[in-house]
């Protein structure tokens, strides 16, 4: 029972209260870069969720069965980034072979995910928070869903921004950042949501 409450807390936290984008600032680059259209944003969000879930599981195993027994914890950063890079490469080849339709849908976003700090971030946070295997995977997947929610909402606002009037110096990134700031303000409302 305790376990279920804890998983629920992790889920709500990752999607709403501690959203990766709006309160932890992880994964801002793809968030701003790939949010001009809603459908590409959905693709990116799904790809990130997928990779974050898998990366959480694999980095947990790497940490528990390789780094800790051999007392190599100081190699954590190097080991994790290599595992993630290899994982993304592997997923890319696997999808290309077995699910070409999904592969073409995700397209260029897959390789970009290696340098998404949300993926490395979730791996490091799992270790820092001392989550067990199930909690790590749940945190990875729900963190990815939080990213998906944020990027889809942001993309749909951004599509309408094209018609808005604002000073010329704000063109491009500045107005996007101000919009994201206001969304972060809205998401702050969820921080009152405490069940733990």
């Amino acid at each position: 029972m305790d376990q279920i409450t804890k998983l629920l807390a992790i889920t709500l936290g990752a999607i709403l209260a501690n959203n990766f984008i709006f309160s932890q600032f992880l994964g801002i680059c793809p968030f701003l870069g790939v949010s001009k259209k809603v459908d590409t944003a959905v693709g990116m969000g799904i790809a990130v969720t997928f990779v974050m879930g898998l990366a959480s599981a694999i980095t947990y195993a790497v940490s528990k069965f390789v780094l800790v027994p051999f007392e190599l914890e100081y190699m954590q950063t190097v080991a994790f980034i290599l595992v993630i890079a290899a994982l993304v490469q592997f997923i890319e080849m696997f999808l290309q072979k077995s699910m070409p339709s999904l592969y073409t849908a995700l397209g260029v976003y897959l390789p970009l995910i290696t340098t998404n700090c949300a993926v490395l971030g979730v791996a490091l946070l799992n270790i820092q928070e001392g989550y067990n295997f199930i909690e790590s995977v749940v945190y990875g997947i729900t963190g990815g869903i939080g990213f998906l929610v944020a990027i889809v909402l942001f993309a749909s606002i951004r599509e309408r921004l094209v018609f808005a009037e604002y000073p010329k110096s704000f063109e491009g990134f500045p107005i996007a950042l101000v919009t994201a700031g206001l969304m972060a303000l809205a998401f702050m409302g969820f921080s009152g949501l405490k069940i733990w």
Partner: protein, 199 residues
């Protein structure tokens, strides 16, 4: 390679954060106090310079296809060194920067400079490029910290400037990070377009 021009590019015309829009995550996340900004800026400066020099030195023997993986290994090595040094000598800063020190590995500034500059240029040029781009990044961090700490918390490097009841607390929250960076980039675009008109 002209050092003066590199300096100007790093600080102003090709500023890594305000013009190239790289490394935004850390820029917004850790700029809540001047000490944090200084710690992060100096760390990135050192890692960027070191990895630029090494990548430029090994660029002729690295096959084209695996260069990104090589870059990441070199960068991750330096990040680990800096991470351990910070934990040993300035544990307070290491703790408040937290997960963002290891995350320098995926900071796009460093990978971006490796790919676009040091992989194509000599060791000396890459060394100065690392220093100037790092300075540009540090300058933006300090500007953000200055605004957010002074107006948001009412202090500067921990010393109270504005009495406790006046500061705009929201600036130290994530919201403030987005807004302050948005306005800084807008100011930069305005200044750049102004100087173009002047010519």
């Amino acid at each position: 390679m002209n050092i003066g021009r590199q300096l100007k590019e790093g600080l102003i015309t090709q500023n890594p954060v305000l013009v190239q829009m790289l490394g935004l995550c850390s820029t917004m996340a850790i700029t809540t106090s001047i000490m944090n900004g200084l710690g992060m800026g100096v760390s990135v400066l050192i890692i960027l310079t070191a990895s630029n020099v090494v990548i430029s030195a090994i660029r002729k023997i690295v096959p084209d296809k695996i260069r990104i993986a090589m870059f990441i290994v070199v960068i991750a090595g330096f990040v680990t060194c800096v991470d351990l040094l910070l934990q040993a000598f300035v544990p307070a800063i290491a703790e408040s920067l937290g997960v963002f020190i290891p995350l320098i590995v995926v900071n796009c500034i460093i990978l971006g400079r490796a790919e676009s500059f040091s992989y194509k240029n000599g060791v000396a040029g890459s060394f100065f490029d690392g220093i100037f781009q790092g300075l540009g990044y540090t300058a933006v961090l300090l500007a953000m910290c200055f605004i957010r700490e002074l107006l948001g918390a009412g202090t500067l490097a921990g010393v109270r400037i504005i009495p406790e009841q006046f500061p705009v607390g929201v600036l130290t929250l994530p919201v403030g990070g987005f807004l302050v960076l948005g306005f800084l980039i807008a100011a930069m675009q305005w200044a750049l377009s102004k100087s173009k008109e002047g010519k």
